[in-house]
Assembly symmetry: D2
Homo-oligomer: 298 residues x 4
């Protein structure tokens, strides 16, 4: 048995030092330390294909650069439509704002402000979204997969962000629930206006992600917030020998039985996780855990 060592705070301490010390402590601190180590291993393992799944409003919460940074080392990206919509909103020049979770929502509504916990967004952002989709809809009509549509948006959007990076680096990006998002609404808006009809089949993107899982020599996974992105990667892993490395960050409970709160080890029973894999479940708000884990590697 290895003794627990007590974390010592020093003046001017680097994050990498702290995360190193956390690994020698217990409870959640140890898990942050382990997670940082496992992410480093999967990034450095040349044989490993890394799948990143992101749910929860990470872009409104100031995690956009963290995610674009992760995309340098990630091979497959699965994400909610909401995150992509908020990314697009920012790449169109709009912003998110500091708010207060105890605000009066009626009053916010009158002011045209949408609340996401302690983050605010002006409802007027939808105007820029409308303009962008109005202008480029004919291009979007040509897309045959969700990935193609998202890359096309990334190509046409003026400013940097997650979508543009996925396009530029040709990162396979999957978003099976795209209809459930502002992007979906913008597409629907044009379609109901009679501007044309898309033909993006719902099952089309499955081929690519399952092929990637199937052919990868080794697999690493990073799940932020569970949800559809986690589950979509998990089901693809069933067509492989299971993930060799895994880090999950969530505040959901295992007891309610949903996929988001299930510890990674449950995936061993399904063959989604390899028996010999290195996994850690981090119970923490991702806006705290992600920066620590990533900065801890540098």
């Amino acid at each position: 048995m290895e003794p627990i060592k007590h974390i010592k705070i020093k003046k001017g301490m680097k994050i990498s030092e702290l995360v190193g010390e956390m690994k020698n402590a217990g409870f959640g601190a140890e898990k942050i330390g382990k997670a940082s180590e496992i992410v480093k291993k999967m990034f450095n393992d040349k044989k490993c294909t890394v799948f990143l799944g992101v749910a929860g409003a990470m872009v409104p919460a100031g995690m956009k650069e963290i995610i674009t940074g992760l995309l340098d080392d990630v091979n497959v990206f699965v994400v909610t439509g909401a995150n992509l919509t908020h990314d697009l909103i920012e790449s169109l020049g709009e912003k998110h704002y500091h708010g207060n979770e105890f605000s009066d929502d009626e009053s916010l509504n009158k002011q045209g402000i949408d609340r996401i916990y302690n983050v605010f967004m002006k409802n007027s952002v939808y105007e820029k979204l409308e303009d962008f989709f109005e202008k480029n809809f004919s291009e979007f009509l040509k897309c045959k997969t969700i990935k193609e549509l998202l890359w096309k948006i990334g190509e046409l959007v003026p400013e940097d962000g997650i979508l543009k990076k996925c396009y530029e680096k040709k990162i396979p990006i999957f978003c099976p629930g795209i209809a459930d998002s502002g992007i979906g609404l913008m597409m629907w808006g044009r379609i109901v206006e009679g501007r044309g009809k898309t033909s993006i089949d719902i099952f089309e993107d499955m081929k690519e992600i399952i092929d990637i899982a199937w052919t990868a020599e080794k697999r690493g996974i990073i799940y932020v917030g569970g949800g559809l992105p986690k589950n979509f990667i998990q089901q693809s892993l069933q067509f492989s020998k299971g993930a060799d490395y895994g880090v999950q960050i969530t505040t959901d409970r295992a007891e309610s039985g949903g996929s988001s709160g299930a510890p990674l080890k449950e995936g061993i029973s399904w063959g989604k996780m390899a028996k010999t894999g290195e996994f850690v479940d981090v119970f923490c708000d991702a806006t705290i855990a992600l920066p620590l884990i990533l900065a801890g590697m540098k």
Copy 2:
């Protein structure tokens, strides 16, 4: 101010009595009582269109009859692909089993058992799924929306369940994330075998649900577990005057900023919930709260 009354347990007590007493107590008990009352109101309000969103593995956990019961009073149903897959598995004659959340997942994997918290499923269920999709794939190829596909599955599946009921009662059922499920995998399996290609556009089902929200005189919502089903209904409600009645059951946290854990009142800022609506957030495992709330009405 109304005084809190203390709950009194009686021999042979009916659930409706207990839920009535809960409403006079505090904390979560009061919320169960209120939720039961609000669900009753939205079911009895002839002008009200009721939207039900269900995420989390409700079918494996023994909630299938609860959900089919709810479908008698619900006008629109949005659900995860996982729940529909587990429903289909049972309607093909397979079962879920009592398990243990402390099990050794490696050993379960060797025995061919998939674990969902404290529920087990034999991995061999996939054989019946394969057979069913193999046999009926040509029928599924004709479907043009996800709803049509799900109704068709409901039509062709031998035994009763959620899918069959949605088909028989022509309940609009939406599952934007269908690719993220065993049903998705079964469709993909046939497609990659070259048995044919579907053309179910990802944005197609949006029209119907938004139309329903738009034209409804009043709107009620019931969210079990958040996730994509909640968010998909919420975004449709933006094209209405907002929900007039709302009950949400979740164990997710508001603090991590995801849609699943956000209290319903946050939706007022977005215009998804009406300022004058009656809402309650129930923080409870849905397998405990749902039976109580529904039995409490009877």
Copy 3:
């Protein structure tokens, strides 16, 4: 493996029927069913000494009758000072009220209202407390243990409640943290006024509870909300062969490492729980779980 059975709601259904069906379902529902069964077993086992630990504001939330009901079958009661203070407040004729968790706390403060989540209490209740302690302080000065003091309060308080019942039925009641409560404040108030000095030794009550644990033939435990009451019983159980039956109701997390959120099985390592014991951890608001579990037995 036993198949999961789906819960069926019937008109006029009794709680005992529902809880029986819950046991055949999964996730939290199954645990409610098991908890009801285990509590019934420990109450019916003549050899079993039952320890009840209660933390969290159960009295303000309308659980007073539930607790006094439990005391009919319980042999040892450990509780927070807060619950006893709120019980005393009610036994002096005051009440708790329905409130709202989204209230403006500044405005409540101006109105003299103290908030406990969605329950309100008038700050003026302290006047009756002052009068009661003023009047009876000389009696309280004679007490040599916390249990004696609490029994004396129970004897002298005019109306029924938890304290009176413990006195009348001579139930050993332990409250090691009594200084941390309104009762503590009332005693301190008299002492600093120079009205006399108590001599209630902090370690005195330990003898009795450890003796009870030591000499009991079998032991059952019911923990509501964790905290000091759980831990105080747990440490006494170290001087025994461990608990044979156990039910824990809490919404705290295991991951943060506190005693309140630790699953009962962790206690096996310490020898606080018997290896052969029957235990269940119920993750649920106690105001929902307790009435169900208890009514389910009847």
Copy 4:
């Protein structure tokens, strides 16, 4: 409204830089940033008396140095008996060890290992505790308050730690639930052996902490994990104008109504928190949040 800024990770980044950036982000990250700022303010405000409350097994989890570090700036310390016992165990030369939360507790019990989530402790540590109390019991018998007893233990224990620091720096340390701990058990062991009787009155320490709260010009509070330490400080604050600064770190839920999970603003209704105070509730495992918040100040 201030725009959210996205956190940027840099190579060799200092914690103070990251925490500074966190403050410009949303959700929990922003709260870590605010907490660091508020703690800095209360430490730098010469008029401010700082109360620290610590519950949860912080010492086993490697947080001992963090706590002794905090004690340099803290004026009043309230803590659970468990933390002090684990501190004493380490100051007697024993250690805690890295373990695994998925361990077989029966097997651990056979090996004489006590588990605290993912931390292990040898059961044999109790021998050193026994020796220490056996040797020094006559000294302990002279103590008249819990604080005196704890200072005396700190004086006599050989190695550095929390108890020794409180003694050396004469920090008022309060532990109303001391009977609920290994230290309590050690005292009880000697008392039942007939080695003497303590006379430490349960209400005695209240005077000092309430006096401190009463006379302080300004008050700051730091709560780790809630529990009795939080509540004991809160009740003392009722005899003041309320806390001017406040940081709370907990993973408990508000919805279950316990004191541990209640947001600090609830205390405004009671007059425990000042209306004009600066507060933040950090929802995070304290082993992650505390090092960040404190290192962020340096």
